[in-house]
């Protein structure tokens, strides 16, 4: 399964907070897609993945795909 979180219009740190809160809704191995137009998300979503040991699968055009690993 996959979950899509539309965070467009939210500014930092809200997109990362939303991702952290909702990732538990998908099983380990599945992905969450975050839509964000916040310039800080380009740095902060990859940084969150690194700090929380989750996998950043892809980034394209304000679309961040994250795989739940733990």
């Amino acid at each position: 399964m996959t979950l899509e979180l539309d965070c467009r219009g939210q500014i930092c740190p809200l997109p990362v907070i939303t991702l952290a809160r909702r990732i538990a809704e998908v099983p380990v191995g599945s992905t969450v897609t975050v839509l964000s137009d916040d310039p800080a998300a380009a740095t902060d979503i990859p940084a969150w993945c690194r700090m929380r040991n989750q996998e950043l699968v892809s980034v394209s055009a304000e679309r961040y795909v994250v795989r739940r690993l733990i």
């Binding site: 930092c12 740190p13 990362v16 916040d38 929380r52």
Partner: protein, 378 residues
């Protein structure tokens, strides 16, 4: 709310209070240094003497010649002047201005106005890629290069000596922005131009330094008059310049002691924060760094909220998070490093900082972070 007299000012990297030695000199020079130093009368010559004295003190600190040192109206002006005038003088060679991605915004802005900026990336610690920088500086059409002595936001020292060697090999002038380190540690030799700002070492605001080695050529793009070789038009603020020199001289005698103290306190603070604040990213090089700066970012924390909460607890800190900037963009330094940009705090120690302030900050911080996280349910 903490007593206003009981505050911990931990933002020395933004500005330090006036050094007591500078205050004395400033008051005396207001009485004796007001005349026009370019006049030949007694009052003018007195002013000139004070200005020459200040120039010698600053030149000595930079291991430069007095006639290579010019005073500007700020560190930002020194950068703008140096970058644009050196690039203009090299227009036959080209317009490329090579610089690291983590320079002060004054350098980025000046490079964009002066020519074609060529940005060189940094690693996770904020240190520029030396070989990429050297290769870019060696490419045809390069007017100049600019590299900071150390990063003003995260404290990481830059490989100035190596980059200077590479630039010299290609005959490319290198401007070193030393604003973050002058007065605290020596800058490696090899620069063609060097800039600094007095209020960062305990001098008054409104005094910048632009040192340019001879025979590096400069072509100011504004009406040129005789003062400061046309690089800083107008009557100089001699009392402020002299006070800035006095502060720098005093700081040099205190530098070794302050260095040891600040290094130990920042090391201790770094370890305590790593141990006591969960989900925190400590940024910058832990060892090869400025003595007095520590930057960290806390997950799920709003930058403005943490600066405001710490202020209410009596601590002055700065932040590179987007919500603390008017542009809503995070610090270009943190973004270039690829470290967390929200919940960012920079702590920087000054000569007046006490261990008690640092210790109290370390005690208060975990609770402040936990409280802000609790407000968003994390």
């Amino acid at each position: 709310m903490a007593d206003v007299n009981d505050r911990g000012y931990l933002d020395a990297a933004s500005s330090e209070p006036l050094h007591p030695a500078a205050r004395e000199v400033l008051l005396a020079a207001l009485e004796s240094g007001w005349a026009d130093p370019s006049r030949l009368h007694h009052e003018g010559r007195t002013a000139r003497l004070l200005l020459d004295n200040a120039r010698e003190v600053v030149a000595d600190a930079l291991r430069a010649r007095p006639d290579e040192v010019r005073f500007t109206s700020s560190g930002t002006t020194a950068v703008h002047t140096g970058v644009t005038a050196i690039t203009a003088a090299r227009r036959r060679t080209g317009a490329r201005v090579v610089h690291s991605a983590v320079e002060h915004s004054a350098v980025l802005h000046a490079a964009a106005v002066a020519g074609e900026p060529v940005e060189i990336g940094v690693d996770r610690l904020g240190r520029v890629d030396t070989s990429a920088f050297a290769a870019a500086a060696g490419r045809p059409g390069t007017a100049m290069a600019a590299l900071q002595s150390a990063n003003h936001e995260v404290g990481t020292r830059q490989p100035v000596a190596l980059v200077a060697e590479a630039c010299a090999a290609h005959g490319v002038p290198l401007l070193v922005d030393a604003a973050a380190s002058i007065g605290r540690e020596d800058v490696p030799d090899g620069w063609s131009a060097l800039t600094a700002s007095a209020h960062k070492w305990g001098g008054p605001a409104g005094v910048g330094v632009l040192a340019v080695r001879k025979p590096v050529r400069l072509l100011p793009r504004w009406p040129v008059e005789e003062r400061e070789d046309g690089l800083a038009p107008g009557h100089p603020d001699i009392p402020a310049v002299l006070a800035a020199a006095a502060a720098l001289q005093a700081r040099r005698t205190e530098a070794a002691e302050l260095d040891a103290r600040h290094r130990a306190w920042i090391d201790g603070l770094r370890k305590r924060i790593a141990a006591e604040v969960p989900d925190v990213e400590l940024t910058g090089d832990p060892d090869d760094r400025l003595p007095h700066v520590l930057t960290f970012s806390c997950l799920y924390v709003d930058g403005e909220a943490i600066v405001t909460a710490l202020d209410a607890e009596g601590f002055a800190v700065s932040s590179g998070s987007a919500c603390t900037a008017s542009t809503l963009r995070p610090s270009h330094v943190l973004a270039a490093m690829g470290v967390l940009t929200h919940g960012n705090v920079r702590v920087s120690l000054g000569r007046g900082t006490t261990y008690d302030e640092v210790d109290r900050f370390a005690q208060v911080l975990p609770g402040v972070v936990a409280r802000i996280r609790a407000e968003v349910g994390l």
